[in-house]
């Protein structure tokens, strides 16, 4: 069978989440086991804890792009300013031409918090939304890639991926398709999602919110802590990046075809996404050094994922969830965790689950609960979402 996947280099990448702004802060937080979850304020009811990113409110968008102003695009802007990312995008624009750099981003709720604010701003008795509310530049899913594309001066194709909690991971797969199809020579990929009442109340209605900070893989785990994050990578062909640049080695997706909000109990969809990612990368399970779990901290997800991991990898590969640091950043989680994977490779680090003493004794995979210093050459990162959407990425050394 001919390979349908070509590896791509992460020529630049950046990460902003509750655990830190930029990759250095993220690295320090992972090494020092300092999570970013905090008790929720009244604006985040009914959650008791959240993973809120500090400093987003103070971010100002460039004057010419003021119509895009909303928390989601401010968080995107904050990330673009870290790790020299905007500069790297500028270099890609100069090298390939603005029309040859695509922007492919995932989000589940885009700037819907701005719509919630517009609802609240209405005078008593008024149904209509305020006249200055700009739906297309904030609430609309396309607002995110349109903002990033305009901000970076790019003119290539743009896509917005919205497959619930796999959005940010799935963006990498679609970007690889676009590069392979010759539609672009580089792509800004990733995901951005911000805290909003819709998701907090929604997960509350499903009784999926943790009472304290989320404890993925613990026997006593009781749900998710909702977080927010932005993760961006600049994908180019490996020959266009220095040797040793981390790479997207493979990606795979599947559908559960089972239930809208519960994963397949045997993890069949998760198994096929992981196997598809391994096949795309041309790797055997034993060649993976660390698995970054979707690991939301819900009873159902973590049990299903353990079954699926054990079926593909046995107990041979250490795995953990980093949502104890970031919370569940929903449509951005796959993007931020792809960046964490790249950091773990650079650091030689398996970051054990935060805030748990031991993994659920019913689990059969090798769940790390403390940090392990080991050689990490290749990481598999899982994302699963409502609607039965599954996506796995393999990030590795070039």
């Amino acid at each position: 069978m001919h390979s349908t996947f070509s590896p791509l280099a992460l020529a630049a990448f950046t990460a902003v989440s509750a655990m830190g702004t930029g990759t250095d802060a993220t690295r320090q937080a992972l090494r020092g086991r300092q999570g970013g979850l905090r008790p929720a304020g009244p604006e985040d009811r009914p959650a008791t804890w959240v993973g809120r990113v500090a400093g987003v409110d103070a971010v100002e968008l460039p004057p010419g792009l003021a119509r895009y102003d909303c928390r989601n695009n401010r968080l995107a802007e904050l990330a673009l300013r870290q790790d020299g990312f905007a500069h790297a995008a500028e270099q890609a624009r100069a090298r390939y031409g603005a029309a040859r750099v695509a922007v492919i981003l995932g989000t589940s709720t885009s700037g819907i918090a701005e719509t919630e604010a517009a609802y609240r701003r209405r005078p008593e008795g008024q149904t209509a939304l305020p006249e200055d509310f700009d739906f297309a530049a904030t609430h609309d899913l396309f607002a995110l890639p349109r903002y990033v594309r305009a901000r970076l001066g790019l003119h290539g194709p743009a896509l917005t991926i919205s497959t619930a909690c796999t959005s940010g991971a799935r963006a990498f797969l679609e970007a690889s398709t676009m590069l392979r199809a010759g539609l672009c020579d580089a792509a800004v990929v990733g995901g951005v999602d911000t805290l909003c009442q819709m998701t907090l109340q929604g997960f509350g209605s499903l009784a999926l919110l943790a009472q304290g900070p989320t404890r993925p893989c613990a026997a006593s785990r009781d749900g998710i802590t909702v977080g927010e994050a932005a993760g961006f990578a600049l994908l180019v062909r490996p020959e266009d990046a220095p040797a040793g640049t981390p790479q997207l080695l493979g990606a795979g997706a599947s559908s559960d075809g089972h239930h809208m909000s519960s994963p397949h109990p045997d993890g069949l969809g998760a198994v096929s996404a992981m196997r598809a990612a391994l096949a795309a990368a041309g790797l055997e399970p034993g060649q993976i050094d660390y698995i970054n779990l979707h690991g939301t901290g819900t009873r159902a997800n973590d049990a299903m994922e353990d079954l699926a991991i054990h079926r593909v990898f046995g107990a041979a590969v250490p795995c953990s969830s980093t949502k104890g640091w970031t919370g569940h950043a929903l449509g951005a989680s796959g993007a931020i965790e792809a960046m964490i994977a790249a950091i773990c490779i650079e650091e030689g680090l398996v970051p054990g689950c935060l805030g748990i003493a031991a993994a659920d004794p019913a689990f059969r995979s090798d769940v790390a609960t403390g940090n392990r210093a080991v050689r990490v050459r290749r990481v598999l990162s899982n994302s699963f979402g409502f609607g039965g959407s599954n996506c796995s990425l393999v990030i590795g050394q070039g």
Partner: protein, 264 residues
């Protein structure tokens, strides 16, 4: 990029399915404005049929029609594209969030994800193959076509493309106008079996050439501007008339897709 297109489907005002609509789209019969009614999602199990709203019904009707002759619907990867997603669901949740007792329905919440229609489709046909759901505002159909053709070209597999949008209720409807419901679907394949046409797609980093204003258009030309999924109408009309066409599809304010349609 190129691929073959087979089995188009359409549900919109005065366009109740491909068989009835093809002569209208081909210009052999007049188009008459008539309300588009949400078809019954026959493929869904009774429980999901109750939970699926109007938007999902339109999407599934188009997807079902495009795959009616397929021996195995579960064997198709899918691309779903929609500017608004399920606006009725999103509006209901926003209304609930701003009501005094803030009671969000769990069913509404899981129906609010943009990939809800895709999720229901894969459940209905028992498909575990990959699916992606895209936004794209007024460029949603172009975005879906771009992603779907990219997947056909690079992975060599058939893809079911489904584009759909429905009007948003008040108050969002006032800030995001969508005139009527519309859904379309087709099969995109790497080979010519059962194909109506060959498609060749090019991304053009330039604004759409200026055309007549919305006020100057009428009939199906005007209809194409009333819904993001209806932007497919020039393609559907070329397919129905079995004629070659060069179709320009809006994607972004400064970019569009140029689609060459050649009947086969």
């Amino acid at each position: 990029m190129r691929c073959w297109l087979a089995s188009p489907a359409v549900f919109g005002p005065g366009l109740p399915g491909w068989a009835a609509s093809a002569p209208i789209l081909a210009g052999e019969q007049p188009w008459v404005m008539a309300e588009a009614l949400p078809p019954t999602p026959a493929l869904l199990a009774p429980g999901d049929r109750r939970r699926a709203g109007v938007t999902v019904r339109f999407a599934l009707a188009a997807a079902a029609e495009a795959t009616a002759a397929e021996p195995d619907r579960a064997a198709l990867e899918t691309v779903f594209a929609s500017g608004n997603g399920d606006g009725a669901v999103v509006c209901s949740i926003l209304d609930a969030l701003h009501a005094p007792d803030v009671a969000v329905s769990p069913t509404l919440f899981h129906n609010s994800v943009h990939n809800a229609a895709a999720g229901y489709w894969h459940i209905a046909v028992g498909s575990t193959l990959p699916s992606v759901s895209l936004g794209g505002h007024d460029g949603a159909f172009a975005a879906g076509l771009l992603a779907a053709m990219g997947n056909v070209a690079t992975r060599g597999r058939a893809v079911l493309l489904c584009a759909y949008d429905t009007p948003l209720p008040a108050p969002l409807g006032a800030v995001r106008a969508t005139a009527f419901p519309f859904a379309t679907a087709c099969l995109l394949r790497p080979g010519p079996e059962g194909a109506l046409a060959v498609l060749e797609l090019r991304y053009v980093a330039e604004p759409l050439p200026p055309g007549p204003s919305a006020e100057e258009l009428e009939g199906l030309d005007a209809l194409a501007l009333g819904n993001p999924a209806a932007r497919a109408l020039p393609l559907l009309r070329a397919l129905a008339a079995r004629r070659a066409a060069l179709v320009r599809l809006p994607l972004l304010a400064d970019a569009h897709l140029e689609l060459r349609v050649s009947p086969c």
